[in-house]
Amino acid sequence: MSGRARSLDALDRAILEATQAGLPFVAAPYADVAARVGAPESEVLARLEAMLARGVIRRIGLAPNHYKLGLVCNGMSVWNVDDACVDALGQEIGALDFVTHCYRRPRRLPAWPYNLFAMVHGGTREEVLEKKARIADLLGSACRASDILFSTEILKKTGLRLARRAGAEASCSD
């Protein structure tokens, strides 16, 4: 485990565990969590704030179901971008409002020449392709090749189970 993982104490873990199924739909949800973990509400708020600041918690909020919002089309756009400028360009692409994830990953030559991955959602393939064209404009001549892999079937989708030791189930929805 990382140093940050070890830095989670029993109360932090209890709070994460108590909130992993979601916050309760009540006017004072953190008071409800506090009652469940046996700590004052102010302490629960302070712990959550600290875990956000340390990056243990990425954010607090909701995750929508893309399909139910009409975003039924999901394309993984992949790009072979000059290593010298991939980081600067990746930042710009990651900041586009229609890109939900943007990563640099290793190439697997010769089969896979792409080092930049940007996930794009839309209501139709045309819409996703239009968005891909905007990414292409941004990359310009730094991009040597690209492709887009539309998903045609979700074969499995579960909550990401990990950190049994933390007694928590991390959720990442994508």
Partner: protein, 148 residues
Amino acid sequence: MIDETDRRIVNALQDGFPLLARPFAAKAAELGLEEGDLIARVARLRETGVVTRFGPFLNAENIGGGFCLCAMAVPPEKWEAAVALVNAQREVAHNYRREHELNMWFVLAVEDRAEIEAVARRIEAETGLAVLLFPKEREYFLDMRVPA
């Protein structure tokens, strides 16, 4: 199924839910809604599956775990068997069919990132197919926000 107010709520709460004693009241005020109305709407969105999760999102890497995107080129005659074998692995969190020669893309989620290689090798042994690993080298942004 969802109205304009629901869409505004989905957008506003993707951006963050405040750490305050009365967080719904604070968000409701921003949205021009009553606290009780906001709570009822978010609860209904969760119930109907428009919202898949509501609460803190953990950063797996910061609690010791790890993720790795993987891909396989599965020939048509092996497809059904490969789906069953890959999906049966506890560590496989998401698995998508995609249009490409590399037609199966899945995410391994492990408690200790050192396990990734071993899980991939196990899948190779079981399926008889090569697993390409695409670990994240750099994340430019990670935010699940989508405009509702």
